[in-house]
Symmetry: C2
Subunit: 493 residues, 2 copies
């Protein structure tokens, strides 16, 4: 017996998990996920553990000896699940949602199994070419011109950082790649423009790229939270007079707080005149533009230099998968291409090596997800699902509008409603803010729905987003009932 044990241990010390074991636990995990996705709606959407609870269930030291897959899988339910906030839950109506789908999950499984690094064409031609083809499919789905060239990055934050880096590289007469920005008598201080409602990733990009937070000038918005083009023009004029060098504008199609749609076409006109790089951040909203009657939200994009859209937000793609399109891939390449000897191949002049277009050398085989999802749902199926979300989103907004104790605080161009409770006679803003924060927390504590907030002109505003694959009218109807009940209870207290 002791001898057997030793033999087993030795055998376990080289190579991978045996195929039979992989199959056995692979099936178990597939079953577990199928059951999870079917049953997720009856779980509390927001985890209610306390800080440290999960950590306390885990050993402080790594195991020296191999543990069985049986034990490891059991710990998913015991340790991991209590601390999961269920992004897949139909009641997850917070932030911008991201839901996984069957075909997306299976594509990730395949990607992990093949485990290729698509840094070069040669390191897996299928990775590069499937990326090219699926991005061309997606370009057609978005009705974008043929001159939009695409690449998959991990997140919109990284896509946007590359957009700003390309805009920086594109400054004429500069040599920022070689000389950097520091001590540069050659260029004035750079200025990038975006609306007051722009996502924080634009500022993170500016910090990273050495432009600094002061290099981002926020342009005022109108009462629908859209950038005011005349204010953009004024800001550019003023900055030029004061020695700044304007170089880039970010227009947002679907801002994070309210999903407001900046007037891309008008902004594009200004950018053309001023020779500024125009980047369109449609990370969330771009997916709505797949629906033909919604395509207008991207009007003007044909004049933009770059665009980001995230299938991992509203196209049922497991994180991460962000699509970046640009009409000037050569500028991106000029900024980032660096080919050390050990990465040179004999076909470099004939093929696309995606490593040339960004910071990251390692590249997962992400296009498999796009390929599986577009084929499995079909473009019609994707459109129908998004169209249904838009319908339900507007339905919820109409309930808010009709109810005397609630008010809507922003237009609903997509499927996100910004609202608050506003009982008759309660007009002190502080009191209203406190009430609505308590209302949100109370609603979230039911475990049936998860909603988040933002602030608009100092007002605490609740956001409800409909973009989950499993979210149907009945779930939003339930959310609405819970919101009303919670408010009634809070007011009774």
């Amino acid at each position: 017996m002791d001898i057997n044990l030793k033999i087993n241990n030795t055998a376990a010390r080289t190579g991978d998990m045996p195929a039979e074991e992989f199959k056995k636990y692979g099936y178990k995990l597939i079953d577990w996920i199928a059951e999870y996705l079917t049953g997720v709606q009856s779980m509390p959407v927001l985890s209610n553990v306390k800080p440290g609870d999960i950590k306390n269930m885990l050993p402080q030291h790594p195991p020296e000896r191999s543990e069985s897959m049986e034990n490891i899988l059991q710990d998913i339910n015991r340790v991991i699940m209590p601390g999961i906030t269920h992004w897949n839950h139909p009641g997850f109506m917070a932030y911008f949602n991201s839901t996984s789908s069957g075909p997306g999950i299976l594509a990730e499984l395949l990607s992990a199994g093949l485990n290729v690094n698509g840094m070069l064409w040669k390191t897996s031609p299928s990775s590069t070419e499937l990326e090219q083809v699926t991005l061309d499919w997606f370009r057609q789905m978005l009705k974008l011109d043929k001159d939009f060239w695409g690449i998959i990055y991990d997140t919109a934050s990284v896509s946007t950082m590359h957009a700003i880096a390309a805009a920086r590289e594109n400054i004429s007469g500069s040599d920022i790649r070689m000389k950097g920005l520091v001590g540069g008598s050659e260029v004035n201080r750079l200025r990038l423009y975006a609306s007051e409602q722009v996502h924080s990733s634009i500022e993170k990009g500016a910090i990273t790229l050495g432009i600094g937070l002061e290099g981002v000038r926020k342009i005022p918005v109108d009462n629908e939270f859209k950038m005011i083009p005349s204010k953009l023009e004024e800001a550019i004029e003023e900055d030029k007079k004061n020695g700044w060098l304007p170089f880039c504008v970010v227009a947002t199609v679907g801002t994070t707080s309210t999903t407001s749609i900046d007037p891309v076409d008008e902004i594009a006109g200004i950018c053309l005149r001023e020779k500024l790089w125009l980047h369109v951040d449609a990370a969330h909203g771009g997916i709505a533009a797949l629906v033909p009657e919604m395509r207008h939200i991207l009007n003007g994009v044909e004049k933009a230099d770059s665009l980001v859209v995230n299938p991992h937000k509203w196209m049922f793609t497991p994180v991460d998968l962000s699509i970046f399109f640009t009409k000037k891939p050569q500028v991106l390449k000029q900024a980032f291409s660096l080919i050390p000897e050990y990465l040179k191949t004999s076909v470099d002049s004939e093929v696309e090596n995606y490593m040339d277009y960004g910071v990251q050398l390692g590249r997962r085989f992400r296009s498999l997800k796009l390929w599986f999802i577009i084929r499995y749902f079909g473009t019609d199926g994707i459109i129908e699902r998004v169209r249904e979300h838009l319908r339900i989103g507007k339905l919820f907004a109409s309930w808010i509008d009709e109810h005397p104790m609630f008010e809507r605080l922003a237009p609903v161009p997509l499927s996100t409603t910004c609202f608050r409770a506003h009982p008759a006679g309660m007009d002190d803003e502080e009191t209203l803010n406190t009430l609505n924060e308590r209302l949100m927390d109370y609603v979230n504590s039911t475990g049936k729905v998860f909603i988040t907030h933002t602030k608009l002109s100092g007002k605490f505003v609740i956001r409800l987003v409909v973009s989950g694959l499993r979210t149907e009218e009945r779930h939003v109807r339930l959310a609405w009932e819970i919101i009303q009940q919670c408010l009634a209870e809070l007011l009774r207290k």
Copy 2:
């Protein structure tokens, strides 16, 4: 019949893949991967398709109608496989290898199924806390001080970019986050130091961060390709005299061409004296340091400010998973933390929100891979596998040393051998370069082994790396036989 079709189509237009279908194709894919990993050694390791071959097998337009999973999975063999270069193949001895393992693949499957975004503690406490615990396990496995704080990024390129960004933020008296680098009278031009053998990602990081390629000064190496500390000191002195501002040094433990180990301890002494941020790039080599008798390659790391080690290179983890440790997380946070209203939570002061420490907001649940892999193999099992690679790597080097027609061109501190054919009497370097390039291509054309090259002092050098989970002595022995045969045939021609 027509009516049925319509009903089916309508049904397919909302919601996810049904659970039964997910299970059926999930099992099929699990079987496919098990078979693939068992049979991969009999496939040609390097894809031999021509540019465009894969693209030509794919439709030019996306499908409007939903396709069956059956068809989609069939296309894996038909379309995808011919264009796969098999990183999982035991004969993949190119670049720095990355192999997936059973537990790693299953963890990715679970991560895609749960699909949480760990940007905030609240958005899934298990994601944040499992990351904290598994990184602490890994810290113990590497015998690092307790004051090393960790975070998982996607790739070493991104880890290193964050290291340099933290170094930049750490420059005393500067306000780069706010003011940027441009037009800055406050700071001189920044200079970062690394050896001539450093990875290209350091230069990409410098471009991205606005430091510029000229901001990277390459320090000469000795005849073992290690940075010469006295040359580093001289360079710093010279730069200071000429108005540069030295701010960071990158030491490499396992350079890409030869796996040379920079003398971290000596370099750390210089950094302490000069108050420079020391980043240690051990993306590949750090895994070797898990083996107790090899831990010395990290000597001096306790004086470093940051360190990167990639489990997705040599620890059987599917891409992507790069671990970044730093003793100064507060500097990283100071550089990158930006908390818009819509991401504020009531527990922010009590918990770690990993989004505060980098560019990326979206964060996959990557720590599941570490958790599964460390538990399934055990720390002993991981050590044994890496130790075996080190043994085989040195065995191969000994064969090169003993053979009169080959020569070794660099020491073998880890498991990578740099060598070339050098037949007696053939001493013209051009001729030798051509011969060795042809030899490499010829070996790769057999489909049994995939090796790549680098250049050392103008010489074309073949690299053979032993770090794949499925690579055993017999595979390296076979590679060696093929190399000798191919050389003999080339010389006969």
